[in-house]
Amino acid sequence: MALPKYTEPHYRIWHYFYLFICGCVFIFLIAPLFVIFPLSFNAEEFLVFSDGMKRLDPDAFSLRWYHDMIYGTKNPWGLAAKNSFIIALFATIGSIILGTVAALGLSSRHMPYKGLIMAILISPMIVPLIISGVAIFFFMAKVGLAATHAGIILAHIILGTPFVVITVTATLSGFDHSVTRAASSLGSDPVNTFMKITLPLILPGVISGGLFAFVTSFDEVVVVLFLAGLENTTIPIQMWTGLREQLSPTILAVATCLIVLSILILVTAELLRRRSERLRGINRY
């Protein structure tokens, strides 16, 4: 954003000040994530940069915390990771199915009480997690699903569906309904029309909603804190316990893995968004 030549000096100063402020905010946003990378390779047990690390001495770096994460004695991370992936996977599938079907109904122009129903469907995203946690815990305890995988999966479906509903209704807002009518007039039954015509077209929205649901479930602590027993421990629960008791470098190794995972998810989501916009013929830029 170059300034025109005729800009007066005090606006020039103001402009550079503005860029400086923006730079500071970007550093504030992104820098905390990058502190974790080098410290997770620390050879020592302390969570500060050792003198050796400042001199870039290769001996000051090691993979011992990653080794500890995978092979450590009484290692909780293996079980936690397994549980987290299983729960997130099923919660995502559940959210996608319920959310997509509901979004199809919601974007029909015949839908009665659209505003009210949309507000109810989105509410799990707005209501503070602690309240959701308490309410869901009471329900799961009543039906005997507390401290089970099924209970946590059902709870995460509640929290994940709003994201799917939002992304899929957004995709459907630019949807040309004449293609489905064309399919019906050519003799296709509704299920076939959905699978062959509608789904491929709204797939980017479905997948990006699914990604949100996956991340929500994978990262969720509050509700799991109420619901989980010892057998259902997840990565966030282990991190929460670790952070409360003692911040160990092993947690940083786990955190680094999670950041790498989120970079992968971000790239996927961005690619999907661009593809979806191209398909819908919306040019944002």
Binding site: G105, A255, L258
Partner: protein
């Protein structure tokens, strides 16, 4: 010609109007059936349980069920002086059953919420009542402990007679119903909840303000830069957005600790002496810093999507009509961004007011919010009805803001990524 014959008929001979109505109705049902599974699922697993929280918060049948005879006997007692012999006798009979069932501990916990000091005297009574002789229970009970001769304690029991109570809600705002049935504030030294509500509002307000002040310039930069640069910078906003909340909180714990990088930097530029490093974690500062960074993307994204639609020629027009860049910004650009500001601020405020994880980890004692209190009553003190009452009070506030948000922005306009 009569009106009937003027109507247009379909090929089946049904009036077109009717046929259309029928089709419309069919479509309505079809659309509703698609939404029904999710709606039903949420109603059963989510909305009704929140309603259940309300029942739980006002339910007070537990004590009523444990002391049935006592409350019947108490109906005639006016509560001014010590209750008559019948009340003592009924209480003795009820309590004997509770001791036999070994459930008198529950009664002690419940009555202790009402008035401190019940636990010890009930325990003592449980031991002594085995040797009670028939008749004149009043004197025998009063002999167990001098508090049994204090009318205050009997009034406290009587207060638990109704099946439903709103006392948990009063407790949530540091009020209680005193002996005369008036609603008064608790002692100044014990007014913890009001302080907590105010602190929650204060922290949510300032976090929203900080987010706004930081997000506005960068959203503007992102919206005005050429695409190849803005895409790269957008990643700086989106990556934290996609990263685990606990990871971000952990990194702030490392940065803000006393030997952490932020403190090192302060010492290096000479702001603080090395032996006088400020505490930046386990207090309000920690909560502010970490929550602002975590919620910042939720402010940037709505602002960005509004700013993106503002044509740059408007600013040029403002300048060419004689306004300085500042005037042009203030009179032309800023008013156009107000919808984005409203959306972002409401969203951040809603999210901040119910925050739990980050304050619990970096907030210490002075930086925790109302959510932390709810979690404490759910997990430690096990006063679930109080936790429910506090949760519903918080929920009422959040829903009020949600309603405003819905009116101003519309829930279907929430931007994700």
């Amino acid at each position: 010609m009569s009106k009937e014959t003027q109507k247009i008929l379909t090929t089946d001979g049904i009036p077109l109007e009717e046929s259309l109505k029928k089709a419309e109705k069919k479509n309505k049902i079809k659309a509703f059936l698609l939404v029904a599974p999710l709606l039903l699922y949420l109603l059963i697993t989510y909305i009704f349980p929140i309603g259940d929280m309300f029942l739980r918060s006002v339910d007070d049948k537990m004590v009523t069920r444990m002391l049935p005879k006592t409350f019947i006997a108490m109906e005639k007692w006016d509560g001014r002086e010590l209750p008559p012999e019948e009340v003592f006798e009924a209480f003795y009979l009820d309590y004997k059953i509770l001791v036999k069932e070994k459930s008198f501990g529950k009664l002690a916990t419940q009555l202790n919420y009402e008035k401190n000091g019940f636990k010890s005297i009930l325990k003592k009574l449980a031991r002594k009542q085995k040797k009670f002789k028939e008749g004149n229970y009043k004197e025998q009970i009063m002999k167990v402990h001098k508090r049994w001769a204090n009318v205050e304690y009997w009034r406290a029991i009587k207060r638990r007679a109704p099946n439903y109570t709103y006392s948990k809600y009063l407790k949530g705002i540091d009020m209680y119903e005193n002996e005369d049935g008036k609603i008064v504030q608790v002692d100044e030294t014990r007014r913890v909840h009001k302080k907590l509500w105010l602190r929650t509002l204060e922290i949510a307000f300032f976090v929203t303000l900080f987010c706004f002040l930081m997000a506005y310039p960068i959203a503007h930069l992102l919206a005005t830069l050429p695409m190849k640069y803005s895409n790269l910078l957008m990643i700086c906003v989106l990556l934290p957005f996609w990263t685990s909340l606990l990871v971000r909180t952990a990194s702030w714990m490392i940065l803000l600790q006393q030997q952490g990088i932020v403190n090192d930097f302060f010492v290096w530029i000479g702001l603080f002496a090395d032996d006088n490093r400020p505490e930046m974690m386990y207090n309000k500062t920690g909560t502010y810093v970490a929550m602002t960074q975590i919620l910042l993307p939720f402010m940037v994204l709505p602002l960005y999507s509004v700013m993106k639609t503002i044509s740059p020629s408007l600013m040029r027009a403002g300048k060419s009509l004689g306004g300085t860049p500042f005037v042009a910004f203030w009179k032309v650009y800023f008013p156009l961004t107000i919808p984005g500001i409203g959306a972002g601020c409401l969203l951040v405020f809603i999210l901040a007011i119910g925050y739990y994880i980050t304050p619990a980890l970096v907030g210490g004692a002075s930086g925790t919010l109302i959510s932390n209190q709810i979690a404490y009553h759910m997990k430690s003190s096990l006063d679930w009805s109080f936790a429910s009452a506090m949760g519903l009070m918080l929920l009422a506030g959040v829903l009020a803001i949600y309603w405003v948000y819905n009116k101003l922005v519309g829930v279907d306009n929430i931007k994700l990524g």
